[in-house]
Symmetry: C2
Subunit: 402 residues, 2 copies
């Protein structure tokens, strides 16, 4: 049996029939030190091939270490992803995807408690939702269709159909040729939409409160997983305030100005500016999460509701984790004539969005919502450096396998 | 104000500021009879257009009635779906989609309690998973890709990657030109996969037990919704046994034979035979749910594990609700050489499934699983006659809108 056992390759699956026996002296090399197994039978259930494309020990090595020797053996990202079955066996990956399941569970449970109804929206759509750029085309029998870039229209239709508060978790597609650390061509959207009575801040604080409760739930329920990820990657605990911090756009501009960055009051923030702002907010308010409210109207999509008190400003918001955007949202225009006017102002061909506009001619309450990228939430909560670490089988412009 | 109010169109959204006043005599025409609102202000928030494409009262009429007059006004399925925002406002539709949210919640919660981990699998894939038929093609930058017909390969890879028990809820695509009451081109798959220790029945009974617990949860938590659906459609309560009934394929053949239907022992069941069998099982065992186990190997996909004791039989199963299949599942072959042999036997081009086969060369435990169509579960639990009633925005060969 010893010879047979000695020939079993690493990562093979075996069945062992054994007796648990108390050890005479503690075993130093194992976590369980006072008992050991005396094997009677050993079966090889599934052999792994002798030459593995990567070693689990190498894939599990700490990415940051004070010992330069420890950093010499690295498994690069593509090798990991090409051999994802092996790569996912590292303790950090086991922990990351268990925590990711927790993100979805918390999102859904917290919203269900708040009276939201889960819906499912189609991924195959007849018209490109946001103007036609960055959309994947699908051959659909003798015609063609598109893959939805967002469930937004369908969430809004559910609101118009009296569902009051809805959420949906599902695949979202972006045909964007962005090869960055934070873009995927397919990701999981955590989307929600809600009608409100008096002010869109009812929705803004519902979303932010849900996220804050989620951060707390992750911290309390996934402490072991967070610690495991921390053994490979230097994870800094995620800081958040309750109630969450809300800043208005001019405040952000002011903070950036004070830090020596010039941003126009009607310009959008660049990614480096967002990053810097995240650091400034962290230093001033001690939080990794905040809401940036009241974006300039000019930088938001046509369906965004303007601020009734200031036509240059909109009832829209982004939310940030560690200086990176994880949610974009707004009050939507629910008046079809005003929506038409705003679309024309943006130079949009009205005939292409006629169905969208028509859906507001059947009575629709004021509503707001937002969409969250699940993989970004997990990446930024843990402080990881690449979104491919939080997508089990990531898709980008260069990768559609495995 | 009376004139203004009189001009408000049906289905408009209004805000009313009013005082609640006790009525002198009970109001017969309302559910709340002892109080009424005395309006002080009335605001029109969102007017509906005067000519509605359908009346909610018509769309909500009972589909079955003893009074032939009541059946004269019908809103046909396409009119409903073309104007889905209005159609979804009927009490039955509000109830159907709330119960559907319950199906997903129960599925996930019951599996999470049993130690399953939720995963997310890509919808864009590089190769057609099951041979290439019935698959949608996507333009993918300068190349092309496909839409996943099932998350099966990815669930299996997650099992090989040590996740032990996994489930996923997400869109599944079938480019099948089937225009029936129970086929959609896009639906929500409730999929699960599980490694086992001794016998695939560990998995079979985990799935069936989860479904049985789900049926009980729906009955207990959604009694009001089920009653509401029952006011429009004649819903018969869904009957199930606990533990669930498991029949073996030869038993089904025997029951059909006794009912005068001839089926070959190595043939698959036709849809009418399945329906008949459902009625026979209902009559004999008083259950609308049962498992049909041990299908002939010849009628199952190449990756299905044969029965070790009978090479003509397989370790595979379907599950039925009211005589219609809702789940198809099996133990999968986890030995790459045997998988190759079986694929060749089925005349499959090995080069096209090389990646699939290779994923079992890294050590993989024995496992089994299955996939459930969410919309079918809701349709059959409620006893509805068309799957378009349980898909919020259904997709079929002729419909990609709204």
């Amino acid at each position: 049996m010893v010879k047979f056992t000695g020939n079993i390759t690493k990562e093979s699956i075996i069945d062992v029939y054994a007796t648990v026996v108390k050890t005479a002296t503690p075993i130093e090399s194992c976590t369980v030190r006072d008992v050991e197994l005396v094997a009677a039978q050993l079966w090889l259930v599934s052999p792994a091939r002798a030459q593995l494309p990567l070693q689990i020990e190498d894939a599990a090595r700490p990415e940051k270490s004070d010992d330069p020797e420890a950093l010499k053996i690295r498994v690069n990202q593509d090798t990991r992803l090409d051999n994802r079955v092996l790569d996912l066996r590292t303790p950090a990956n086991q922990a990351i995807f268990r925590l990711e399941a927790g993100v979805c569970k918390l999102f859904r449970d917290l919203l269900t408690q708040r009276g939201f109804v889960e819906i499912h929206t189609p991924k195959i759509i007849s018209a490109a939702s946001e103007g036609g750029a960055n959309v994947f085309t699908v051959s659909y029998f003798k015609s063609s269709a598109y893959l939805a870039q967002s469930p937004q229209l369908y969430k809004q239709m559910a609101i118009a159909a009296d569902f009051d508060k809805v959420f949906t978790v599902g695949a979202v597609f972006r045909a964007e040729d962005s090869n960055t650390h934070r873009h995927l061509t397919e990701f999981v959207g955590l989307d929600l939409e809600m009608s409100f009575k008096h002010h869109y801040h009812e929705v803004l604080y519902t979303i932010a409160g849900t996220l804050t409760d989620m951060f707390r739930g992750l911290r309390d329920q996934f402490a072991a997983e967070i610690a495991t990820v921390g053994q490979q990657y230097r994870v800094e605990p995620f800081k958040f305030l309750d109630p969450p911090l809300r800043l208005e756009f001019p405040q952000a501009i002011q903070m950036l100005k004070e830090a020596g960055v010039t941003v126009g009051e009607e310009d959008d923030l660049s990614t480096p500016d967002e990053k810097l702002l995240g650091r400034l907010v962290r230093a001033k308010y001690d939080t990794d999460f905040y809401i940036l409210d009241k974006y300039p109207l000019a930088v938001r999509p046509f369906y965004t509701m303007p601020d009734p008190n200031n036509p240059k400003v909109s009832n829209s918001y982004d939310m940030f984790m560690r200086g990176e955007e994880i949610l974009s949202g707004a009050q939507r225009i629910h008046d079809p004539d005003f929506l038409t006017e705003r679309a024309k102002h943006h130079g949009i061909d009205i005939s292409k969005i006629a169905a969208y506009i028509e859906s507001f001619r059947l009575g629709c309450p004021p509503h707001a919502g937002g969409g969250i990228g699940m993989e970004r939430v997990v990446m930024l909560y843990l402080g990881l450096d690449n979104i491919r670490k939080t997508s089990m089988f990531p898709r980008d412009p260069k990768r559609v396998t495995p």
